[in-house]
Amino acid sequence: MASELKHRSEIPLTLPSMTWLIVFFLVPTIFVIAMAFRSADPYGGIGNEWTLQTIKDLGNPNYPSIIWRTIWLSVVSTVLCIITAIPAAYYISKLQKKAQDIVLLLIIVPFWTNFLIRIFAWKVFLHPEGAVKQILDLLHITSPDSLLLYRPEAVLIVLVYTHLPFALLPIYAAAEKFDFSLMEAAFDLGAGKIQAFMRIFIPGIKQGLLTAIIIVFIPALGSYVIPDIVGGPTGEMIGNKIAQRTFVDRNLPHASALSAILTLAVILPVAIALTRSFFKEKNSASIGI
């Protein structure tokens, strides 16, 4: 009787969240993809007829360069996050428990301050009239008429800044569980430091690395505020185009088509990761929040 009751209650218990997410997540996502095939009306709304014109317009020479920039900025920032996070996670996980907690807290605390304010801090930091630029000019590292701000490199730095903790935490979580006596064993068997690190430690923290890559790469693809504030016209990413088409040109089908591309680019890696983790063991730590 009890088990019968349990099964009858599965539906009502699943219903609230499922309904909510279908209405406010699935349906809107399908809307976006559908809108990409509608025409734009001249008043900034959505026309009535179906068309492939919007999709064809994406061949416009403007877009491929922005899509390309979005991809390389996301890839390079992910790589930079991962290669700095690995040695740091290695170091932190070998500290004593108390020291680990302190260093972790120091890493997380700046990220409890408002997202916009952290990006704004970089704008102040790199500003042409700011102290950093003036010092670099004095040392002749930069010339007075060059800019630190409003270029793709500035976007890259801030992308790494905002995403590094999200790479660090899952890699640290994996390193913390890693059995360091395996490294000792490798040394005893004659492995060099670098060899042991690359062939024992790195494979040992594979799951953490995978989580870190997903958790950095995907939000980076969809960045909007960072290139908007520190990027300038030469640092624009696909997110900026979506916002421009929505708020400036009021061309909603165009914004939808760009969003649809981005959605597909995001769903693919997530779907791969999700199926992988579902068939392996469920690992709540791997969400890394």
């Binding site: 609230p16 809107p28 700046p110 408002n114 997202f115 939000p219 929505t246």
Partner: protein, 256 residues
């Protein structure tokens, strides 16, 4: 074998990298010059200007209303979702799991634009309600994931034992399940509250003219206002964050 010092240096470099911009903002907030290539003397005028700005207080109250409402809704729905994900291992739950997971990874801008198109097509007036609906959507997923994490240490046989001993289902939930989950639900709620307070991108897409939240207001100040006032606001917000963290830590220590 001598340990390599390289990982230590990287860790120190990362910490410097994390704090340096915040330190600059702190110094600049007291600088009389606007961008401060040079130090024009100590001033508190940016703070004075900040406190005389009425719009900020309106934005703060909007932000708090939305954050509280979406926290409550997401704590309830998210906990129920976590329970069904934990309890049932059916195909429906595999789909359910994917639905819960996606809002966590999808970039904010996609969620923003899809909800904007959705509300506009249904002719729903953009405002506090639409922001609340949008925030609840991602908060539900975060709460569900945090509570689900708590469930992993839960021994379901305790509930079965209670039922065998004659407890009703609602008593078992009230006396066993909820007290056990409480820290997880609280942590999830705290996370939801912070994320709602902090969200800019989604809010920017679904907010109307009179429903400005603090992040949206900060953004418009960055674009059009004086940067020095934002420096002052940043310092206050950072200080506020530190105070909250400090008290939360103290509170947890007392409980232990």
């Amino acid at each position: 074998m001598k340990r390599s010092r390289f990982p230590l240096y990287i860790t120190i470099a990362i910490l410097v990298f994390f704090y340096l911009p915040l330190v600059i903002v702190f110094i600049q907030s007291f600088n009389a010059s606007r961008f401060g290539g040079t130090w024009h003397g100590f001033t508190l005028s940016w703070y004075a200007k900040l406190f005389s700005d009425k719009n900020i207080w309106h934005a703060i109250s909007n932000t708090l209303i939305i954050a509280s409402a979406s926290t409550v809704v997401s704590m309830i729905i998210g906990t129920i979702a976590a329970y069904s994900l934990y309890k049932y291992k059916t195909r429906l739950q595999v789909v359910h799991n994917i639905f819960i997971y996606f809002p966590l990874v999808i970039p904010d801008i996609l969620m923003g634009i899809s909800l904007l198109l959705f509300f506009v097509s249904l002719k729903i007036q953009l405002g506090l309600v639409t922001i609340f609906l949008a925030h609840s959507t991602f908060c539900i997923s975060y709460v569900a994931m945090v509570v689900l994490g708590r469930f992993q240490d839960f021994d379901y046989t305790i509930i079965e034992a209670a039922l065998d001993l004659g407890a009703t289902w609602s008593t078992a939930v009230r006396k066993i399940l909820l007290p056990f989950l409480a820290p997880g639900i609280a942590a999830g709620g705290l996370l939801a509250f912070t994320l709602s307070l902090d969200d800019f991108v989604i809010t920017f897409f679904v907010s109307g003219p009179s429903s400005t939240t603090l992040p949206v207001y900060i953004y418009s100040m960055m674009r059009h206002g004086s940067p020095s006032i934002i420096n002052a606001l940043s310092v206050i917000m950072i200080a506020f964050t530190f105070i909250i963290i400090f008290f939360t830590k103290k509170l947890l220590e007392v409980k232990k």
